[in-house]
């Protein structure tokens, strides 16, 4: 029987399957998309959703479903890669802070506090406005404002693990600090790092969409879910489908990431300070 309880229990699995399907859809976008990316159908501009154009068409007669599929490539790539970069950086810094001496620890953690205190989104928007990045640089920028929480979590984990007997043992038999960290300490950080990665994917997608919405993210003619919304906001009252479908994609994808992250997380996902 399907009670609300079983729905909640199944939600993470459904979310994981959804994310997998979405990634496949993005990879195979050229095969799946009903139209060519920039095929203009000038007789069929601003068409409402129909059987020929499931998500409607935009002001140039481009198929919105096709653009959403290709936009998924950009948005997901930014989310996934920025999450990997930021978590790798965060874990590396956190491990250094947690395993090196007191002074290194203080230096790194005060630096982390400083970056954490600058409002994330305005900082990112300003940096993007100044540097006018392409997609690869955008990935690095999004990662650059997302490593701080991971660094804190990783530092706490590393300190806890480093105090355990098996680590002391490894040090006693003369393993170098680098070997101790890589072989004995870091594997214990993997669970926390995977939670951080899932949540960072969702956050990265949100940040990209917000930046693109304000015109400082992914630049047209390339499609991302965020810049489709940027283009949609002026004509939203007459062609709401242009705004609804890309937004729904962002919402469901980020929701799925957060649902998966919640399940993986044995500790508080939002506040790790």
């Amino acid at each position: 029987m399907t009670t609300p309880g079983t729905v909640v229990k199944r939600a993470p699995r459904v979310a994981a399957i959804f994310l997998g399907a979405l990634i496949l859809a993005a990879i195979f976008a050229p095969v799946l998309a009903p139209y060519a990316t920039d095929a203009l159908d000038l007789a069929n501009r601003r068409a409402a959703p129909s059987l020929a154009h499931w998500f409607g068409t935009d002001e140039l007669g481009r198929d919105v479903l096709t653009r959403v599929l290709f936009g998924a490539r950009v948005s997901l790539a930014i989310g996934l890669l920025s999450a990997l970069v930021s978590v790798a950086f965060g874990v590396a810094l956190g491990a250094m802070a947690g395993y090196s001496g007191r002074r290194m620890d203080d230096l790194i953690m005060r630096g982390t506090d400083a970056v954490l205190a600058i409002p994330r989104l305005p900082l990112l928007m300003l940096a993007a406005a100044v540097l006018q990045p392409g997609v690869p640089a955008l990935i690095l920028l999004v990662a650059a404002v997302g490593w701080m929480e991971t660094a804190r979590v990783a530092r706490a984990e590393v300190r806890a693990i480093a105090a355990r007997d098996f680590v002391q043992g490894a040090r006693a038999i003369g393993a170098t600090p680098l070997r101790v960290v890589l072989r004995h300490v870091l594997p214990g950080v993997i669970p926390a790092a995977s939670v951080a990665t899932t949540l960072a994917i969702g956050r990265g997608i949100l940040l990209e969409s917000t930046m693109s919405f304000f015109g400082v993210g992914v630049q047209p003619p390339a499609a991302s879910w965020g810049n489709m919304l940027y283009q949609a906001q002026t004509t939203m009252t007459s062609e709401p489908w242009l705004a609804i479908f890309p937004g729904l994609c962002i919402l469901t994808t980020v929701l799925a990431c957060n649902a998966v992250g919640d399940v993986l997380s044995p500790f508080d996902p939002e506040r790790t300070a």
Binding site: P122, M236, R271
Partner: protein
Amino acid sequence: MIRLILRRLAQAVPLLLVISAIVFALLHAVPGGPLAAYLENPNVRPADIARLREAYGLDRPLLVQYGSWLAAFLRGDWGMSFADGRPVLTRMLERLPATVELAGVAGLVALLLAVAVAVGSAVNRTFDRAASAVAVAGISLPVFWFGLLLQLLLAHRLGWLPSSGRTTFGDSSLGDRLSHLVLPVLVLAFVQAAAWSRYLRRALREVLARPFIRAARTRGIAERDILLRHALPNALGPFVTVVLLDAAMLASGAVVTESVFAWPGIGSLFTEALGKRDYPVLMAFLMLGAAAVVLLNLLADVVVAAIDPRLRESA
């Protein structure tokens, strides 16, 4: 208590110095430096640029420039806006009341909502499941898109509320101002309440699992009193910290919400300045935002120590 405040202040100063260095470095990472806006302008001759560089002292070593920039910033001299030539401080101050109004009302609504939802979740399992699902959706929402949808539905389609601005031109009645507040407050408060209710719900569950709650039950205290008088105050302690820290983070939320609803606050000043590459305004915004975060951090430590004696020792 005074020692705690002094110690925290002593920690805040180096933190603010590091932040100011980051912000200053950003300004100089701009291609063309702080005069980028003039470099792109064909009407400004190279000779004028050289003159401006000298006038602004941009030919001096970076460290000297940083020192004089910081000194001027502390004196309240935040430079002139590129957009209209007026002092940055003046422009920010005239936008401040609108942001305080919006963020204040939204913060209050979010707070009440979060407490109500967390208490409701502790009482009823079905409500808990529904509320948790809504809250996850709330933290996953692209804020600007949520704002656009509400604008589309409630303002354009149904015509119940004004779609943007703080007042209707020529109408300064209270009703008009309140009706303009509804949509932006709804967006900002919903997103914030989603995050806060998740946190408070978790804190409340942890407290409810502690032995003193079972002891209260065995003493025959009513379930309602246990929840509201024994459990809730204990969960609110750490929650206060979270609320105060997020109060500063409303700065990020305000940028998006104010811009979508054309709310004339500091957040929309930021996006306007972004479009015009008005660096002095952007820098001042980042510095102010960071300073607010650091100061609220400090305030949070003090408030928590004041209301929860257990934390006074460890602080």
